[in-house]
Each structure stands twice: as structure tokens, then as C-alpha cells.
Subunit: 407 residues, 2 copies
């Protein structure tokens, strides 16, 4: 078995293989895995880079089984049953798990890819933090004026909402303190969403709560504001240009058109077509898992989130066990545990199974607990807990704003 | 007052100014300060980037006084009394403190600057860690062979000894565990020193102890081995070429020939000539502090270490107070508190005031305590303590080996 991609789906498959006593091979471009749901905290200085990343090899050691090869897969030889890595190395497989994830989606908006800062990888988070510090210093040096730093976040989904909320808290913490030259009102934060409401997919009550909490934190929320074009220093929406010294692009993800995936049929949203059991229709020896796959839930395609990816990884590994025993693979049934997003200190929204909807402190505590439990590794959990506790008690950003990738 | 450079010397001056009730201006290229003595721990995965860096603005806030401007000084107008930043901004001063530090020294060895990885800045530490991970994966992919990864450390001073010791521990921790494909004997570590003994300046007994402890950890120590040339994959010493997949350059520092320092007289070792009170002979309104200055101790120039820098910063600030009161500045008298270097777990050497010499666990505990106390910031101290405790208890590297500057 070869698993490509060390995200939630790939690692869940590896863990399930280890439990079954099988030794699978995991391939990824990076030697570490990233806890993507908390990248916005790294970008805004609440967590350190190392709090949300973990060495793949350590994880495999803890699972007790599994091998790792670092490399970028450039081609799949479906007939020969082998993958080729950049540099030419070929690795044969009997069964293949594709869990290669997604990339930020720019919807063909001119200038978006050049000027927008996505928040999808560890490097993205490091880059955004570095830019944030640089912009703060630029704002200080710019001297007095009506608005000295304008931050625009594009995308009103969970990532956009969480980033805008964290940026607002950061602004209120730093201005007048570490940056005595700046007042909070010198820094504007805007959140642009193309649809009429924030957090599409959440219940309207939670969406309204998120919007009012963001407004209370002085984030200007503009809904029904699709971005038409991005230029240096400005974003164009239908109502006109909005100045932007810093542009965070959190408008969703898509499956990239990379050589290894060429020739595989895609769904309308560009994800790989899979059978109900998550196999590729023309290549039943291969499964597609997580963000890359267009697995369907009851009504529509499953959201590209951690929970569906983890459950899909586990399911696919179990089907290999069935196939090995001569049984038919079973369809994947996603168990929806709910969705959550945090806006700030003691302000979050949670939509749990059975229609339970939480807001405020309760939702925030639920969000905190869930993320702590899901964070990989005991030591990371300790460290994150320490950072968060400190952050909460001292009412300041724990990590300060040290650019994690200094130049 | 304008202080250029937010290292040990510059920050000590700022702290003393704050105590005196004076508001000075600090200028640095970076918005954070780096605890350089522990960079080798960041490079070898024992500490996180954020454990040894701290935002300058937070430090100034804690000092209670002081302003900060981020920028690179490109020129000093001595007659006009102003400095010019990259970009053209000019800042006037009545008194100036030059604490701009040093850079790695390559002694004109051909190829050294191209192929050697220094360990002087946060970026250096991040780069070395990234290269280390990449080399380990390359060694795994290279397949069986007599020696699959060869690390050479150039320089047998404290930084070289500490780095070689940490690399040896890391090798023994990772091989057979996170890297089951590698055995400890597949990875060689060599330490090259130009003089006949390690740790020049320490007592010969401590030097011998360091050498035997490193040998016990299977580091090949080659003394009297000056590097003549560095090529891709090899280092040339008099006895012949030594293959090197990874080359750490820890052979000392020098004051760079940067435009802002042009025209100032230098000592034989290239440091700025200063009066006994640390003033520039031709510009008594300016002081030079720390690594950049050739301040003299009882016998020779003071070592380019944290302690002399801190004491010099404090001294210079106090002299300004004397000058303001119409008094003559006093000569700087360095109080030598001793020197230390750690080789590994419970193995260190310390040479303290009054001829007290420690080795082994006692010296290691002294080293640990000293660095914890000196680390800036309460939260960093917590975090470092947590990382170290975890490291010690779990007998593994805390941070794993996540490259802190992923690309």
C-alpha cells in the first residue's frame, strides 16, 4: 500500500493500516504534517509554527508501523502500478491512496494570486505574519493620517471569519502598547464575502451572531461583495475599490491541475470522481480521500474539512482489508459531528449533530477543547495549552510577533 | 540618544536609559532580538525559533521607556549629527551608540562562504535545521552504503563544540527510531579546529574534557586542522580532503566592512577603536559597544560574548548621565563572570571567576540555570523550560525536526 499525502486523510489511513498490522508507505513533499485549522493563529501570532506542525516520521513511530519517503509525485503509471517521484525514483504499489489535498482557489480573479496572501500552508502562515509585522512598522513610519493600515480579508467562511476576528483582537492588543505610535482606529479590518451572509452552510442564526460579534470588534463586514479584481494596494468590488495594504485571501480551495492527476475524471467542482466506496471508477485499486476527492454526503459533496478526511482515510484502509479477504468494499457513510468557527475570546459558533447550536463562551470552550484533543502529539498539546493559557491570562499575544521565517 | 542595534549591548543600554528615566530611540533592521547563544539548539531541533527570539517593542514596553524604528542604517553624518536609513529617512542624534554586532568570519577561505552554513542569525539556524532534515531524507534515499551522511563542523570554540555535541545527540536519538533506515554509524560528525586544542581560551583541563566527551559521543575531533578550501561536498585540510554533505561554519566572527562604519579606525582584529570609556576617539559623542567594538580587558581585547556586551551597554548609558552632569566619563572595567560551553546532556565545562573550574553535571546545571535566567521574557523562559524538561524526560528532541522556514 502506498499513501500519497500526509494530511488528515493520509495519516488517518496510515493509522488504520498500523492498527490492522499492515505496513504501508507514506509519501509527502514535506517531512512534517500541518494542523491546517489553526494556521490563522500562527499568522496572527497566537501560536508558534511548531505548535501546529509535526514530523511525519515521529507520528509513524507512534503508530508503530509505516514507512516514509519524502518526495513529490510527478506521475502515476496506472497500467504498471507505480508512481514516479521528482528526480526519477519509481515506487511500485498494489493499492494506492490519493490524499493530496487542495490548494487556495482564486476563481480567475485578475491579480488575486499575485497580491492575495492565502492561509493554506505553514509557509503561508509564516509569510502572512512577516508581512503583518512589516506593515505595522510601515504604518508607524508613515506618520499621522486618517487610516494608516488597511487590512482586507476576502472570504466569509470559517477561515476568513476566524482570521478577521484574530486580526481585530491583535490590533486592539498591539496599538497603544507595543505600538504606542498607532491607535486602534488607525488600522481598519474589512471582511468581504461574495454571498449575502457570513459562514455559508451554518444556520442563519449563527451567521448573524458571527457578523454582529465581528462588528462589535470593529471589523467592517461587507456581504454580497464579490471581488472582481485585485490591484497593488486595492481590491475592486461592485461598489468600487477598497484600499488594501494587506490582503488575506481565504476564499476557499480547489483541487489543482497537477500532472499526477491528469486524465482522472472530475466532478463539477473539480474534485476527483469517486465511487460510493471512495475508489476511482476506472482504477478500483486506487482510492481518493479528503479534499482531493468529490465524495458525496446525503445531499451534496462533503465539505473539504478535517472530519470528512479523517473518516475517509479510516474507511478506505478498512476496505483494503475487506478486499484482501475477498469481500466487496462498502460505501463510505460520513458521520457529521458538526462544524465550528471561532470569532475571538469567548466568542464562537458551533453547529453540532442533532441541530444543537451554540454561540458565545460555550461554543468557544467547545472549539478550544475539540482542537486541543485533535492536535497531534502530547507535547504539542502541552505547548499549545501553555500558549493559550498565557494568552488568555496575560491578555496579550503569546508569541509576540516574531516573523517565524526571518529573512 | 540613538542606539543602533538591538542585541545584548544595545538592549542593555536601552534598559539603563529607561532606569535613568531617559527615552532613547532604538534602531534595528529586525523587529525582534535574538538570543544568539542558543541558536545551535534551534538548529538541532531542541528549541523552537520563538524560544530564542523576542519582539523588540515588547521589551521596550517592559522597560517602561524607549522608542523603536525598524530600519537599516546606511550612513552616518558625523558633522551633521544624523543617521540615514535605507529608503532615505534621516534621524538626528545628540549622542550615538553603535552596537551593530559582528558577522561570521570566513578568513578568505575559498568556497567557505558559499558552502558553509553559519550559525549567527535566526535565519541561519532555520536554514541549518531545514538542510539537516533534507540531508537525513537524502541519506535514507541513498540506500545502504558505508557512510551515508557526513557532517563537518568547522571551529572548535564554544559554538562549534556545542553544535557538534548537539548533532551527535540528535543522531543517536533519530537513527533507528524516526529514521529506522539509518544506523548511528551511517552518520559521521567531525569537528575541525585550526589550533592544537578545543575551546581556545579555556583552561587545558576543560579543553581536554570537552574533547574526550565529544569522542565518547563519537564525534571525530581533528585539531591543528585549518581549513584551506571548501568545495561542493568536501573540505580541504592539510592532511587531505574530508567529505562533507553538510558543513557548519562556526569559526568565529568579525566586524563587517559596511558603509556606515567606513572611515572609523579599526584595531588589528578589525574591531572599532574605542577609548577606555568606549567612546570613538574622533567622535566623543558616539560610543561603540559589544561585538563591534575593540574594547580592551586586562590583557587583550574582550571576547565577543554576551557578558561584555551587556556590561558595556550599561556602562555607556551611565557615562551619558555623567556627561550630562558635566562630569568626565569613566573607563569601562569588565567584570569577568566566567565562560561556559555545553557538550550534551549533563556534560559541560565552566570556568568561573576566581579560578573555579567545573565539568560534567555540575557545569551543565550551571549552564542551564544561567541561560534560563538570561533568556528574555517570562513566557519564553516558561516555554524553554517546558521544551528542555520534555527533552530531558522523554529523552528525545522536543521540537522534532520541523523545518521552521518551510518553502
Amino acid at each position: 500500500m502506498v499513501v500519497v499525502g500526509a494530511g488528515f486523510a493520509g495519516l488517518a489511513a496510515m493509522a488504520e493500516f498500523a492498527r490492522m498490522g499492515w505496513t504501508a508507505l507514506l509519501v509527502d513533499r514535506q517531512p512534517y504534517t500541518t494542523f491546517q485549522p489553526l494556521l490563522y493563529q500562527v499568522a496572527t501570532g497566537g501560536l508558534n509554527v511548531e505548535d501546529v506542525a509535526f514530523p511525519v516520521r515521529s507520528l509513524l513511530r507512534w503508530m508503530g508501523r509505516g514507512r516514509f519517503v519524502q518526495g513529490r509525485v510527478v506521475a502515476i503509471d496506472w497500467d504498471g502500478g507505480k508512481i514516479t517521484l521528482e528526480g526519477g525514483r519509481a515506487i511500485g504499489y498494489d493499492h494506492l491512496m490519493l490524499a493530496t489535498g487542495a490548494v487556495p482557489r482564486f476563481y480567475g480573479v485578475p491579480g488575486a494570486e499575485n497580491h492575495g496572501l492565502p492561509l493554506h500552508t505553514l509557509s503561508d502562515a509564516a509569510r502572512l505574519r512577516t508581512r503583518l509585522v512589516a506593515e505595522l512598522e510601515r504604518a508607524v513610519a508613515s506618520g499621522p493620517g486618517p487610516l494608516r493600515m488597511r487590512v482586507v480579508v476576502v472570504g466569509g467562511g470559517p477561515t476568513g471569519v476566524e482570521t478577521a476576528g484574530a486580526l481585530a483582537e491583535l490590533r486592539d492588543l498591539l496599538t497603544g502598547r507595543d505600538y504606542p505610535e498607532l491607535r486602534a482606529q488607525d488600522v481598519s479590518i474589512e471582511l468581504l464575502e461574495a454571498t449575502p451572509g457570513l459562514l455559508p452552510g451554518f444556520h442563519p442564526r449563527l451567521s448573524r451572531y458571527a457578523q454582529s460579534e465581528l462588528r462589535r470588534r470593529r471589523v467592517l463586514v461587507l456581504t454580497s461583495s464579490a471581488v472582481r479584481e485585485v490591484r497593488e494596494g486595492a481590491v475592486l468590488v461592485d461598489s468600487g475599490p477598497r484600499p488594501a495594504d494587506l490582503l488575506v485571501w481565504a476564499a476557499g480551495v480547489e483541487v489543482p491541475d497537477i500532472p499526477m492527476l491528469r486524465g482522472l475524471p472530475r466532478t463539477a467542482s473539480g474534485r476527483l470522481v469517486v465511487t460510493p466506496s471512495l475508489q476511482l471508477p476506472d482504477h478500483p485499486e486506487a482510492f481518493a480521500l479528503g479534499d482531493v476527492a468529490g465524495a458525496r454526503g446525503a445531499a451534496s459533496e462533503l465539505p473539504q474539512l478535517a472530519q470528512p478526511a479523517i473518516q475517509a482515510g479510516r474507511h478506505a484502509a478498512r476496505q483494503l482489508s475487506r478486499i484482501a479477504r475477498g469481500l466487496e468494499p462498502q460505501p463510505f457513510i460520513y458521520r457529521d459531528r458538526g462544524v465550528m468557527a471561532t470569532i475571538g475570546r469567548r466568542a464562537a459558533v458551533a453547529e453540532l449533530r442533532g441541530g444543537l447550536r451554540l454561540t458565545g463562551t460555550t461554543a468557544w470552550l467547545a472549539w478550544l477543547g475539540l482542537h486541543l484533543v485533535e492536535l497531534l502529539g502530547v507535547r504539542n498539546r502541552f505547548s499549545v495549552l501553555l500558549n493559550w493559557t498565557w494568552h488568555y491570562v496575560a491578555w496579550r499575544r503569546a508569541a509576540g510577533l516574531i516573523p517565524p521565517a526571518p529573512g
